[in-house]
């Protein structure tokens, strides 16, 4: 089992990678814990989470090959 993680904007500034492969996480809470452990600076910024391009508000179960995007506040327009 492997999850694709995409990063954007300030989040990429922290991870230094636009995409990561993360094995063996069951849900988004686990994934976020792992990411914040690896990149502690993530704790100091605001971000939202999308699973397979849909925004989520609550802990969400993950399947193999799911794409989780870590999205800083939007500033288009």
């Amino acid at each position: 089992m492997e999850i694709n993680v995409l990063t954007f904007g300030q989040v990429t500034d922290i991870t230094a990678e636009t995409s990561l492969k993360i094995p063996d996480v069951k849900n988004t809470d686990e994934l976020i814990q792992l990411l914040e452990k690896t990149y502690p600076a993530l704790k100091s910024i605001q971000y939202s989470i999308a699973v397979n391009r849909k925004m989520i508000q609550e802990n969400t179960m993950l399947q193999n090959e799911d794409t989780v995007a870590i999205l800083p506040p939007f500033s288009g327009g």
Binding site: F8, G9, Q10, A50, R53, L71, P73, F74, G76, G77
Partner: protein
């Protein structure tokens, strides 16, 4: 299942006035249109101390942004009596004074065009995964925030 028609939204670099003129001109054969409403977002040279924004560099989560634009489009046609609507958003570098967003709605009556245009602009700012990085004259940069 209904086939989604793909409407190309993203443009590389600024949106030129001539491009806008062409977009307007294309509607002259839709003779039931009585009103067009256009919103243009222009990059501002905001100042911080002695320094000022010389450009914004836009990036997006492309696949999700296209889905969001599609959803905004469908919702606009559901809620307003529109004949046409077009959204164009820049990616990459757009200098201060250049245009990075065009929302263009057309309707029989003005209220539909005007209200839809405003609603779409708000949705784009709020819901579409696009990020602007402000580049300053001293080569510093910071991530833009919408309000």
């Amino acid at each position: 299942m209904k086939q989604k028609k793909i409407h190309k939204v993203f443009i590389d670099g600024p949106i030129n006035p001539d491009f806008i003129a062409e977009a307007i001109a294309k509607h002259s054969d839709k003779k039931n249109i009585g009103a067009h409403s256009l919103f243009l977002g222009q990059v501002r040279n905001d100042k911080i101390g002695d320094d000022e924004v010389t450009a914004i560099e836009y990036t997006s989560y492309h696949e999700m942004a296209e889905e969001k634009f599609h959803e905004i489009r469908e919702d606009a046609f559901t809620h307003f009596s529109l004949i046409c609507m077009h959204i164009y958003h820049s990616l990459g570098k757009v200098n201060a004074g250049e245009i990075s967003l065009l929302v263009f709605t057309s309707a029989i009556h003005r209220a539909d065009a005007i209200d839809a245009c405003e609603a779409i602009v708000e949705r784009i700012k709020k819901d579409v995964p696009v990020w602007g990085k402000e580049i300053f004259s001293n080569e510093n940069s910071q991530w833009k925030t919408n309000n």
